[in-house]
Amino acid sequence: MNVMADEKRQKFRARAAKGIAATLVLIVCLYLTLPLVALVLRVTPELLMTYLPNETVQKALWLSLLTSGIATVTVIAIGTPAAYFHSRTAYPGKTLVDTFIDLPLVLPPAVAGFSLLLLFGRTGLLGTYLHIIGIDVAFTTLAVVMAQIFVSSPFYLRQAKALFEQLDPAYEETARTLGSSSFRTFISIILPLTASGLISGAIMTFARALGEFGATIMFAGNLPGVTQTMPLAIYAAMQGNFDVAIAISVLLVAISLAIMLAVRLLTRNRKYDV
């Protein structure tokens, strides 16, 4: 009797817990999507048709995808081995490096852009010397990429670090005893086993780079075709007709989501029974 009642109570609790959790998922979904619905409701098809073929918008879109792509690839290329080294090697100042990685997260983007300008600008700390040898990075497309890398890299680096640290060392150790160099082990064991998480980190990085505004406009300026990415174009549009800004935003969101969905579909089945 008692056991039965206990079981019923437990069953009820389990159901209640599940129901609450499901409700929370629903709340999260509504909270994250409803604002977009409100936004999309304001966009008329005519508006989209009028402004999307606009040359400035297309240039900005293309520039955004290009620079964010380059930034993401750079972060992956440099960040993956760096994070691996970091998580596997004990070296002096390791905790300090952990803190450095968080730096760009807490620096307001506009200030970050200003700092980059102070460093790489023509009269900047390094920029002065670069200028002497004929290199000016500020206000170029390169500056856009550099700003994006600066603000978005922590998302990848943090994720990669966590994944490498959490992976069961037995796989790696076995591979090494089988004669696999650490490089080969990294490529054929570590990377595939952490791929799904790394991709998730790369998506966050790409998204952050794509949405980057404050650091870019300060360090790279707002020059159509050269440094005017989509967020800057949206900012420019906001100065005049707001509806145009919305139309472009909706375009940006649609394209980014499509890209992220494509990445997700292309890299499916990256989970293994362990």
Binding site: D168, E173, T174, A175, R176, L178, G179, S180, S181, L193
Partner: protein
């Protein structure tokens, strides 16, 4: 000839062992749980660093703390089967087995031939294209064994390699281990708790207790 002479401070006691294994000889390490058997194998493989001592295979020095020699894991050419098989879950059985050969950049035909050979010996050829994460316990263990032996290591180390095997496979695997050790004339270190296994496959026995060798004995010609 494999020489191992190492010391290391563990949580509960100090491990301090010195022993040798001849070529073509199988030395069985036995001893209570927590006596330090796995620790000895890990140090030999290069996965743990001894506090002091030397480890040699023939005249190749793998570790010598006085001479500051510490050969990296991947160059020690040991075949080591872990207590928990640790098959690579993202690879097929075939790719698991051929992994060490590919790491050594052998030519594709040799890899294919030797892999196929060991898949067959350990009767996992019908599972060759299955993802290794989807195997039963005993199937995983055979994959781990084939993976280590196919590389023709210069020292073979097996940590309780029979535990998950069914009776038929246990007999077969014992035979393949003996064959592998004799064929390539290499020393072999085997950890097991089953006296039957030890007698059936071992040439000599070392008993470990709290990190020290308390008994050594020969198995008298029951086989080979």
């Amino acid at each position: 000839m494999f020489n191992c002479n190492v010391r290391k401070q563990l949580r509960d006691f100090t491990l301090d062992v010195s022993f040798q294994v001849g070529r073509g000889e199988i030395l069985v390490l036995m001893g209570d749980n927590g006596a330090g058997k796995t620790t000895v194998l890990r140090m030999t493989a290069g996965l743990l660093t001894p506090t002091s001592g030397t480890i040699r295979i023939g005249d190749r020095i793998l570790f010598d703390n006085a001479a500051h020699i510490d050969v990296p894991v991947e160059n020690r050419q040991t075949g080591y089967v872990f207590q928990n098989s640790a098959v690579f879950p993202h690879m097929t059985v075939r790719d698991n087995v051929s992994f060490g050969l590919r790491a050594r950049r052998l030519d594709p035909e040799t890899i294919a031939a030797r892999t196929a050979d060991w898949l067959e010996r350990l009767t996992i050829d019908d599972l060759a294209d299955v993802r290794a994460g989807q195997l039963s316990g005993g199937q995983k263990q055979r994959v781990a064994l084939a993976r280590a032996m196919v590389t023709e290591p210069s020292l073979l180390m097996l940590d309780e390699p029979f535990t998950a095997l069914d009776a038929k496979n246990q007999a077969a695997v014992r035979e393949w281990i003996r064959l592998c050790v004799h064929e390539h004339d290499i020393p072999c270190l085997l950890v097991t708790h089953a006296v039957g296994d030890a007698e059936a496959v071992g040439d000599r026995l070392c008993v470990l207790e709290q990190g020290r060798i308390v008994r050594e004995e020969n198995f008298s010609g029951t086989h080979g």
